[in-house]
């Protein structure tokens, strides 16, 4: 019996979120005396796949089939369900990322297995913790079926890498052309930026910046730190910033190691998307801004004065190290 982790490859590399999921899978396997197995769909390099051994995966089932190079929820569900049977898996682990969010509920129905979406830590006493009410509370979920599916929230745990190498085994699921229902017409990737949900460091700004022309200092800081940029809904709504940067209850939920909020009031709906960040820094002219109550560090001051100094200090620090 085993724990099976669904691992995704992007541009030849294992997705960071998938690596976290594989680590979660291995830890769960270890705790339950099971084997840690991964399944990968689509073409990928053998060396990259074998490197899953570093996070404790002993075997990778690899369907090296070009039809899987694009995500198709129906075909993927069939293939992963078959891998679950092949590996006699009692746990299925995936990342709670864009594809995992759709694949997991489909698998739950197909396997009739209880599913916890967005687990934030390893299971304890048979319970799975996840955030609810948009981060305003957490809940411990119990799964009532023998087979269990867990989707791990990105950035919830840091994989510890060892020296192992996984065995890669060819896997040929019985998926017919008719199971592929989506035809990909094109992709539009924002190049040169870090996907917000995968970023360790995030620099974010709101209406306090007065206008889109003032984002230079935010982008500069993001560049210096290797951070992603985010924004409040208020500024995405008026098109000062692209919609994909909007975080909060109706935008993205993120949990980076560092979230720097410049000129954002900290409305409850905004906090809902960012309050599980490990360290929160707030820069705001208003000492009464609600964001200060959720912050670890703060400066009461004008962004237009503070940010140039902040950037200069970071530049100096980076130069010294």
């Amino acid at each position: 019996m085993s724990v099976l982790t669904f691992v995704e490859i992007n541009e030849g590399k294992i997705k960071k979120a998938s690596l976290e999921a594989a680590y979660y899978g291995s830890k769960t396997a270890e705790a339950n005396g099971l084997a840690s197995v991964a399944v990968v769909l689509g073409e990928a390099g053998a060396e990259e796949l074998a490197s899953l051994g570093q996070v404790g995966v002993s075997k990778v089932l690899h369907a090296s089939d070009a039809r899987f190079n694009h995500f198709d929820s129906k075909a993927y569900t069939k293939a992963v369900a078959e891998a679950v049977n092949a590996a006699a898996a009692t746990y299925v682990v995936l990342s709670f990322n864009n594809n995992g969010k759709l694949l997991a509920p489909r698998l739950s129905v197909r396997l009739k297995a209880g599913y916890v979406p967005g687990a934030v830590e390893l299971p304890a006493n048979g319970l799975f913790k996840k955030n609810v009410f948009s981060g305003k509370a957490s809940a411990q979920y119990q799964i009532n079926t023998e087979k269990k599916i867990v989707a791990v929230n990105p950035n919830s745990l840091s994989p510890v890498k060892g020296a192992g190498t996984a065995i890669v085994e060819a896997f040929a699921p019985a998926v017919s052309d008719a199971d592929f229902s989506t035809v990909v017409k094109g992709q539009d990737k924002i190049t040169g930026t870090i996907p917000l949900t995968e970023a360790d460091l995030v620099v974010s700004a709101g209406r306090g910046l007065k206008g889109p022309e003032n984002w230079g200092m935010i982008e500069e800081l993001a560049g210096l730190l290797g951070a992603a940029t985010a924004c409040s809904r208020a500024v995405a709504d008026v098109d000062w910033r692209p919609h994909h940067e909007h975080v909060g209850q109706t935008g993205l939920t993120i949990r980076p190691n560092l979230y720097i909020a410049v000129g954002i009031s900290g409305a409850i709906q905004h906090l809902a998307g960012v309050n599980s960040s490990k360290v929160i820094v707030v820069i705001n002219t208003d000492p009464e801004a609600p964001f200060f109550k959720a912050a670890d560090y703060g400066i009461v001051g004008d962004a237009f004065e503070v940010m140039p100094k902040f950037n200069a200090a970071v530049r100096k620090l980076k130069a010294a190290n």
Partner: protein
């Protein structure tokens, strides 16, 4: 085109979250309930727009008690033609999806448009589950949806960008922001909603695959460490050395 939109009822975004009975029950006293924003603003409005362009019918389905009537009437006021309420407590996503699939399997919908997730349990499950129950294609995190000649063209979010895909109907779509502009129901809509059909049906028995054992609130409010605005370098030092954030 015949479109089904599942709608959920959630606590208003500003609600105070509290638990009782040894942290096993969410306290609903004093909580205002609303239609889940993603369902209302994006899924329902886009469904109504497609119907207005191409003809057809929009049906909303809700799993919940009689106290959900207000939300259902709002959906009808925004533009849905009729509603179905499955009279049951929506405690488990699998259970809810099974009810919706059970209704949809005999109705031949061209499209089922769900919101990507609810703002209470944030679980992102119902759309995908309904698709699997009905063995239909499904695309999630959809920001753009057009239909022509029985084929849907969709733009979905992927990590670091978007992807455009085509899918032959029927299918399930999980909507997110940008798919449509929120609508405020007008007087005519509100008046009309009163007489639109709302069928109440019993739940089909189905298993609940998960249970919430307990809830917890986050630890007490953090104590912020304030640094003087003339000492920005000190903040950067703290972030580097104390918080080890970079």
């Amino acid at each position: 085109m015949k479109i089904l939109v599942p709608i959920a009822k959630v606590p208003d975004t500003t609600s105070k979250i509290a638990f009782a009975e040894n942290n096993t029950k969410f306290v609903t006293d004093g909580v205002t309930f609303i239609m889940n924003p993603t369902d209302e603003w994006y899924a329902l409005v886009r469904a109504c727009e497609l119907k207005e362009q191409q003809g057809g019918e929009v049906v909303v389905i809700h799993v919940g008690g009689a106290d959900s009537e207000q939300i259902i009437r709002k959906a009808l006021a925004i533009g849905a033609d009729k509603a179905v309420r499955v009279d049951a407590d929506p405690t488990d996503a699998y259970f809810v999806a099974a009810q919706i699939a059970n209704h949809a399997k005999t109705e031949n919908y061209d499209l089922i448009i769900a919101g990507k997730e609810t703002i209470d349990y944030n679980s992102f499950q119902v759309g995908g589950m309904v698709a699997e129950f009905l063995d239909l294609p499904c695309v999630a995190l959809v920001q753009k949806l057009d239909v022509a000649n029985g084929v849907a063209t969709l733009k979905r979010e992927i990590e670091g960008g978007t992807e455009t895909v085509e899918v032959k109907l029927p299918m399930v779509v999980c909507a997110q922001k940008e798919l449509a502009e929120a609508r405020i129901p007008n007087m005519k809509g509100i008046m009309g909603a009163r007489t639109k059909p709302l069928a109440v049906v019993a739940a089909t028995a189905d298993d609940k695959l998960t249970t919430i054992a307990s809830y917890a609130l986050p630890d007490k409010a953090k104590q912020v460490k304030l640094v003087d605005k003339d000492n920005v370098e000190e903040l950067v030092r703290l972030l580097h050395e104390e918080a080890k954030a970079f």
